[in-house]
């Protein structure tokens, strides 16, 4: 046992015996998130049910200097909830109640373990919904969404998590309960709400969230356009945006993705197309009519070989069915896949997709592209076989190259999945030493002993040096006088 019996008993006293997991078999469940290539058995899992319990557990961990890794639903794709050496996993899954829906002020107040989709389901009776819709929405938790600043298919028009949250209650490592944001749309002083969103469990534990709800749109139309080349599809995306249209969603699938999903759900996609675009427009009927006419002519003008317009709700759902089933569909054609998440300026879409194909040839791995084209957020799925000894290492190297390519194109290594454990190395490419140190000083302001999710999201300079990403001059790191956290 890595943690003392005494510590475990104290945890049990705080949350109850049934909410503390210490046996190997049940600990296994918590050894990884959805990036299952990275695993580590936690020393202990604690499952609080109240805010007070979260505060008490954090105080205890703080006193004993025990690292804490928060966990929502474990659907993260970057190893963010991966347990750490000698640390506990703080699972928020029992705190899963919707505390209030306020239809007049259009808000929902939630415990952190509430599933993303459950919010919209509960709001539906009032003609409202919660806009950010990650593809994992049936499973992922709002606490995890806050920690990752999750996006979804509709964030081109409706924004990311950060644009849709009014208030977060955060417990610091010292057990202090902070209210960030308020009942209104802003608060004076530093915008700690924005800072907490996307902080990957490094600054505090999210124990309550108030989100903004939007009215359901009366009409939605989806256009499906097929292209003979990926370049043309990429150009069509830029043309739509330049024309002043703001589609609710604008997704691109390449030929490999089209074939994989067609074989799986039979959505009726044109399987010979090099790429398809799905363009969703919503609003009042008059708006949708005007926008779809414009979108159609832009698609045509950019060389679409076929344009289909959903004639009813069923067909619209069918158009989306393929996109939504894309990940599991790829899961059927390859034994394993590795999902990347870089974002680039839209104008480089075609060039970057071409270079990804070249990398795939070079590493002799398959790659499937299905992604949020409107935002320039790529999700190349690298296909590999975990049973072949070097395959994952190859996929990882190739993935790293793709992310570095995104940075070189003026983009970023992660659009919505977060850095976690996975992209620690690429952080050294995206940021300079002084910037990483600024991140560490910020972390230090919240968590001076570095107990919350240590080793994730922000690499130490030594780590960057080890990975060969940081220039070490005469054996010295930049700014040796500064403390390393």
């Amino acid at each position: 046992m890595i943690l003392s019996d005494h510590f475990i008993q104290q945890c049990q006293a705080l949350v109850g015996v049934n909410s503390v997991i210490a046996d190997q078999a049940r600990l296994r469940v918590y050894e990884c998130d959805a990036l299952s290539a990275y695993r580590h058995l936690p020393a202990l899992v604690v499952l609080p049910e109240t805010v007070e319990q979260v505060q008490a557990v954090l105080r205890l961990c703080s006193t004993h200097q025990i690292p804490v890794v928060a966990r929502g639903a474990g659907t993260g794709l970057a190893g963010g909830a991966l347990p750490v050496e000698r640390g506990i996993v703080l699972g928020l899954s029992k705190m899963n109640r919707i505390l209030a829906i306020d239809p007049v002020n259009r808000t929902a107040t939630l415990q952190p373990g509430v599933r993303n989709l459950a919010i919209s389901e509960a709001a539906k009776a009032h003609g409202l919904y919660y806009a950010p819709d990650p593809s994992s929405q049936i499973a992922c938790s709002i606490g995890g969404n806050i920690a990752e600043n999750a996006g979804g298919v509709h964030c081109l028009k409706y924004g990311l998590t950060v644009h849709n949250v009014h208030q977060v209650k955060l417990v610091t490592i010292d057990g202090e309960l902070l209210t960030l944001g308020g009942s209104g749309l802003d608060m004076p002083g530093y915008d700690l709400l924005a800072l907490a969103i996307g902080s990957e469990g490094l600054l505090g534990i999210v124990v309550e969230v108030t989100v903004r709800l939007l009215p359901l749109q009366p009409q939605t139309q989806v256009l499906l356009a097929a292209f003979a080349s990926v370049e043309q599809a990429g150009a069509a995306v830029a043309a739509i945006i330049a024309d002043g249209l703001l589609p609710a969603g604008l997704e691109l699938m390449d030929n490999a993705a089209i074939r994989a999903t067609e074989a799986f759900v039979n959505a009726g996609y044109p399987i010979n197309a090099a790429a398809i675009l799905l363009c969703e427009l919503d609003g009042m009927p008059e708006q949708v009519t005007a926008d779809s006419a414009r979108a159609e002519s832009i698609l045509q003008g950019n060389g679409a070989i076929e344009i289909r317009k959903a004639s009813d709700d069923n067909q619209r759902k069918r158009f989306w069915a393929g996109r939504k089933a894309a990940f599991p569909a790829v899961g059927r054609i390859a034994s394993d896949y590795y999902c990347m998440d870089g974002t680039i300026p839209r104008k480089h879409l075609a060039a970057v997709l071409k270079q990804i194909t070249e990398l795939a040839d070079q590493y002799q791995l398959g790659v499937v592209n299905v992604f949020h084209a409107g935002d320039g957020n790529l999700h190349p799925l690298i296909l590999y076989d975990a049973n072949r000894p070097d395959d994952f290492a190859k996929a990882e190297t190739m993935g790293g190259k793709i992310l570095e390519l995104c940075v070189a194109m003026g983009g970023t290594i992660t659009g919505e999945h977060g850095v976690g454990t996975e992209k620690i190395g690429q952080m050294c490419v995206q940021f300079q030493a002084a910037e990483l140190q600024q991140f560490h000083r910020l972390k230090h302001a919240f968590d001076p002993r570095g107990l919350l999710n240590p080793g994730k999201a922000i690499p130490t300079l030594h780590r960057c040096a080890e990975l060969g990403h940081m220039h070490v001059h005469h054996g010295q790191l930049p700014h040796p006088e500064l403390e390393r956290f």
Binding site: Y190, L246, T343
Partner: protein, 351 residues
């Protein structure tokens, strides 16, 4: 004015200030000097010469510019491409700079419907209190690499660092806009604003001046016309001027002397029991109050409904904002993480 990159000069000035322990007053065009606490620094760090658009491609929906660039320059360039800063920042004068705009973080009437200044912030280059030039965020729509330092800069009144460059998301200007007006009591106006917001109308502003509720519709012409028909009310042909005057605080309500409080609450909140003249914006979520009530009473009444009050203009420079002690302590630590010597704008936001 000439485009020029003064980054190196500015960095040197900050480094020198750090070496000598001299506090700096960061100055855009001083248009918003009235806002916030009194700045105790006397040595100016002028930003207005550090100007110029660095990158703008309409199809990317992103603009990157130096912080001394005037807001007017930016909005007119965007307008040529039928795009806009959708958070409708007030200029409060002809010369307002991009840096000052974001350091204050003010947003106009479109805010509840499209987002605030910080929502449109994508990335920035800053000088921190150690005199280091740092880049955060980027020029792409989605970016979750590292902590969101760019958004933290918005509203920080320069107290965390000098903004050198800023990348903002922009949006298309709606094809058509129309303002409807209704004569209502204050209570009726709040009810109506919220009833409208629950339904999917193409709203882009709603404000109540004490007599009339004005509602702005935006979108394709056919949609705006259809919504106007269904909603009834009078068309305000002066609507566009009204929204501009509201943004720039040129309406009579804002011209009179006295303390002006800015109160942020849930949009459907019942009226607060504070005496004075009210003006409602943001569909009821932003409430201006002209009053002689003491700061204590205003902060207490607002906190009771989970909101916040800020003395926007007036003689109250000591109790102009109020935060709970734990939050205040944390904010001080964050400040120290960026500017340990308290060089930038001491007294403006935090001591």
């Amino acid at each position: 004015m000439r485009e020029q990159d003064l980054s190196e000069d500015l960095q040197k000035q900050v480094q020198q200030a750090a070496a000598t322990g001299t506090a700096l007053r960061i100055v855009g065009s001083d248009s918003k000097a009235f806002y916030g606490g009194a700045c105790q620094a006397t040595t100016p760090l002028p930003m207005a010469g550090h100007r110029g658009i660095i990158d703008y491609e309409p199809s990317e929906l992103v603009i990157t510019a130096r912080s001394g660039t005037s807001l007017n320059n930016i909005t007119s360039l965007l307008a040529q491409h039928r795009q806009m800063l959708a958070f409708e920042p007030p200029g409060f004068g002809e010369y307002a700079t991009l840096g000052g705009t974001l350091a204050c973080g003010f947003s106009g009437s479109r805010r509840p419907f499209v987002g605030s200044a910080r929502d449109f912030m994508l990335g920035c280059k800053i000088i921190n209190g150690g005199g280091e030039v740092l880049n955060f965020g980027g020029r792409v729509m989605k970016n979750v690499a590292g902590f969101d330092v760019s958004r933290l800069m918005v509203g920080a009144l320069g107290s965390l660092g000098v903004l050198l460059e800023v990348s903002l998301r922009v949006l298309p200007i709606p094809k058509s806009e129309l303002t409807l007006a209704y004569t209502l009591s204050a209570g009726e106006a709040v009810t109506k604003m919220n009833a409208l917001s629950v339904r999917p109308w193409p709203l882009s502003a709603s404000a109540y001046d004490g007599e009339q509720l004005r509602v702005r519709l935006s979108g394709a012409q056919a949609a705006v016309q259809a919504a106007a028909r269904q909603l009834g009310g009078d068309t305000d042909v002066q609507g566009e001027c009204f929204w501009q005057d509201l943004r720039e605080q040129r309406l009579t309500y804002f011209q009179q002397p006295g303390n002006l409080w800015r109160i942020s609450v849930a949009p459907a909140s019942a009226s607060l029991s504070l005496s004075g003249d009210w003006f409602l914006d943001w569909g009821g979520a932003l409430r201006w109050l002209k009053t002689e009530e003491p700061a204590e009473a205003i902060h207490a009444a607002t906190a009771k409904v989970g909101g916040y009050a800020v003395c926007f203009r007036g003689n109250n420079k000591t109790d102009w904002i109020r935060l709970d002690p734990a939050l205040m302590a944390l904010q001080q630590k964050i400040r120290a993480a960026f500017d340990p010597l308290k060089l930038f704008n001491p007294g403006r936001l935090h001591r």
